[in-house]
């Protein structure tokens, strides 16, 4: 009896592994169903969206009254945030009546981000630009600041809530049109033969990637040029990479194991793409057509591989670090009671397209791989922040 019991128990460990592993085959089961996601209406409202040529110089909104401005970041230790901070300070320097308060880095800690905003309000900030990484968790703090008379403009990541009630307005780029633009380019690059495409997103459940796949799916469904392009993702579900090169490499290796043919990779990260490209190279598979945001390393990867792999083509929309400038203009104009006609949501342009002779990918070997070269900063300023 005991030996039978033992035998059963002895087999239990491998059996548990077997059972757990077999659950993966239930990829369509209840655990893997994505939660229903609805694109933030700000991205779908044509009244709020506009093109980059509608943007105006800050000098129109400086006003006369001296005011204090500040940037409260959710996290500060990456190339995007450092570039955006430099853009914010560069923009503020164009108005002599603006005093820039110390930069606040939330260090990826919602509690610190909240206390940073409260501290800036206590210091008398009147125009506050916030990158609300913590999302809706920041909403009560933003509302508190707004109700205290501060012009509060969250940018890029929507915190939810209602503009005019919880904060002044939300400023960002149109992630839905980003997705549509990438999909359209992929369809053109693959031609009538089409092929298989995958979309790699960022952190699990992030609104940006979910909005982008919404745009991709709509474009693939509605564009006749995309008739033969198949998106391998589960409907509405980005493949998570955490925007991290190492994880992107692992994920891409997994996809290469699963799919014998991948002709296009749509991503929303230039940094992450480097890991994905490496996975293709290590697997000895031909590099597919690839989309991302602009990033120096991504351009260099193209330059390094294009001769050996002529089918490898890339496109990049701008990493739009300059959106923070628009956020500052909106905040300053609100603080000065000056009407601000610029769009809240910007349809950002393509900056590199290897198929377009006018937009060749540009690799600058003097800048780090993570450098955002589409920033509205001079080469000297870029070199200084990446030093």
């Amino acid at each position: 009896m005991l030996s039978r019991f033992l035998s059963a128990r002895m087999l239990a460990a491998p059996a548990a592994a077997l059972l757990a592993l077999s659950l993966t085959s239930c990829a369509g089961g209840p655990f893997s169903e994505p939660a229903a996601f609805e694109v933030d209406p700000v991205y779908l409202d044509p009244e709020l969206s506009g093109a980059v040529d509608e943007l105006r110089p800050i000098t129109e909104f400086c006003g006369d009254r001296p005011i204090k401005v500040a940037l409260a970041d959710g996290v500060g230790d990456n190339a995007f945030r450092k570039t955006a901070r430099a853009e914010f300070e560069d923009e503020a320097a164009k108005c002599p009546n603006l005093e820039v308060l110390p930069y606040a880095d939330g260090q990826n800690n919602p509690q610190k981000a909240i206390s940073d905003i409260k501290a800036l309000v206590a210091l008398g900030v009147e125009a506050l630009v916030v990158f609300p990484d913590a999302g809706p968790a920041l909403l009560p703090t933003l509302r508190e600041a707004f109700e205290a008379g501060v012009a509060v403009v969250p940018y890029t990541a929507s915190p939810g809530g209602t503009p005019g009630v919880d904060y002044t307005t939300f400023v960002g780029h149109n992630t839905v049109t980003d997705g549509a633009m990438w999909a359209q380019w992929v369809c053109n690059a693959l031609g009538p033969a089409g092929g298989n495409a995958v979309f790699l997103g960022g952190t699990p459940g992030n609104a940006q990637s979910l909005s982008e796949i919404h745009g991709i799916e709509d474009e693939l469904a509605g564009n006749p040029d995309c008739a033969n392009v198949t998106l391998l993702n589960d409907p509405g579900t980005p493949i998570d990479t955490g925007w991290n090169p190492a994880q992107t490499q692992r994920v891409t290796s997994g996809l290469l194991a699963k799919y014998p043919k991948i002709d296009a990779v749509i991503t929303d990260s230039g940094d992450g793409s480097l890991g994905g490209i490496r996975a293709f190279l290590q697997a000895g598979r031909p590099l597919p057509v690839w989309t991302a945001n602009d990033n120096n390393g991504f351009a260099c990867a193209y330059v390094d591989n294009k001769a050996a792999q002529p089918q490898f083509q890339i496109v990049a929309v701008t990493s739009r670090t300059w959106i923070v400038r628009l956020a500052l203009r909106k905040a300053v104009a609100a603080a000065q009671d000056i009407p601000e006609p610029e769009p809240d949501i910007v349809n950002v342009p393509i900056v590199w397209d290897s198929l377009d002779p006018n937009l060749p990918p540009e690799c600058d070997r003097n800048l780090p791989s993570s450098a955002v070269t589409s920033a509205e900063l001079s080469t000297e300023q870029l070199a200084e922040i990446y030093r």
């Binding site: 005991l2 030996s3 990829a27 655990f31 589960d234 692992r250 994920v251 940094d271 290590q282």
Partner: protein, 341 residues
């Protein structure tokens, strides 16, 4: 494995030891079964997950985890715990990327600097734990925070890029097997042999098994206690440098995912958290198991939620089942008969 068996099975070995007996009594045996199981099942779950290219992609990460977990095994052998893995890996990565780029130092110098940084951080933790009786998790967490700050200062928030020659070495392979994996195998085997067969290694284990007894035996327990953290720091630094070279442009959080997975690998391998009983080889097999498990759920197309659930379930099942004292059941039959008579 004989050395391991002798540690874990104190019953008199009479006659031939069958495989079943080994499975029942050797605490380091289940991980081998789990590892075999995961590789056997992989093609059934995700058909492409056992192809040469999939394995080539997985093995370097398994190697890096095995090296980092080697360090954690040494610390846990002494009943400690080390949460400084991400900080040490990051600072070592900065040494072979940002510093190498910015200062023009030779690759060898940068590698030595990275190892020195790992050893120094281990020394600080070891002294705090052994000399000042600070709880190991507090000391190592504090050093981790310190290192994270230093990394940010040194790097300016930007990861550098590894030298192309270093990177080429990290991504190379010998006979189709990734060099990183082979390097990990060599390091693990050498560490295992030194720990189990050398006098210094046996003394090291003796201190982990019981400080008072080791002290009475004339062993310098404090020195061995500190050395566990120093050697662990060197292992994390090596893992960090190899991973940085492999990724070429690593992010500064490259070691974050190794903080708890190294502990999971050690426990899953069969090393006793209280110290004294450990196996570096079993830890390395656990690292291979965890990496392949991660890869197969990825290749199966499971969502992130599903991946985490599966990994947690497998870990929990393996660790709970390990908690059962199989030897007690083995002894039960003759013992109970004796009591009845």
């Amino acid at each position: 494995m004989s050395a391991l068996t002798s540690e874990t099975d104190t019953r008199p070995q009479t006659g031939h030891t069958t495989l079943l007996q080994r499975i029942r009594t050797d605490r380091f045996m289940p991980i081998w079964l789990l590892a075999v199981a995961v590789f056997v099942i992989s093609p059934l779950i995700a058909p492409g997950s056992m192809t040469a290219s999939a394995l080539t992609a997985m093995l370097p990460f398994a190697g890096v985890m095995a090296i980092a977990a080697l360090g954690q095994t040494l610390v846990i052998t002494h009943g400690g715990i080390d949460l400084s893995v991400p900080g040490v890996m990051a600072i070592a990565a900065v040494c072979v990327t940002k510093l190498a780029q910015g200062t023009g130092m030779s690759t060898l110098m940068c590698v030595l600097l990275g190892i020195a940084a790992g050893a120094l951080s281990g020394l600080v933790i070891g002294l705090a734990v052994v000399w000042f009786s600070v709880a190991a998790f507090v000391a190592s967490l504090a050093v981790n925070s310190l290192l994270t700050g230093v990394v940010l200062v040194l790097s300016g928030g930007f990861p550098g890029t590894a030298d192309p020659a270093v990177s080429a070495f990290a991504v190379s392979s010998v006979g189709g097997i990734p060099t990183l994996f082979l390097l990990a195998v060599v390091l693990v085997v050498v560490a295992h042999v030194v720990l189990k067969q050398s006098v210094a290694g046996r003394r090291f284990i003796a201190v982990g098994a019981g400080v008072p007894a080791a002290r009475i035996a004339g062993i310098r327990t404090s020195t061995h206690g500190v050395m566990a953290y120093v050697l662990a720091g060197i292992a994390y630094a090596t893992a960090g440098m190899l991973l940085a070279a492999y990724l070429r442009t690593p992010d500064l959080q490259l070691g974050q995912s190794y903080q708890l997975t190294t502990i999971a690998a050690v426990v899953l391998g069969g090393t006793l958290l209280r110290g004294g009983i450990s196996s570096i080889i079993a830890t390395a097999v656990a690292a291979l198991f965890l990496t392949q498990l991660g890869q197969v759920v990825l290749a199966a197309g499971a969502s992130t939620a599903m991946q985490l659930l599966i990994q947690a379930l497998v870990l929990a099942a393996a660790i709970i089942l390990r908690g059962v004292d199989w030897r007690r059941f083995v002894r039960l039959r003759p013992d109970s008969q004796t009591q009845k008579s």
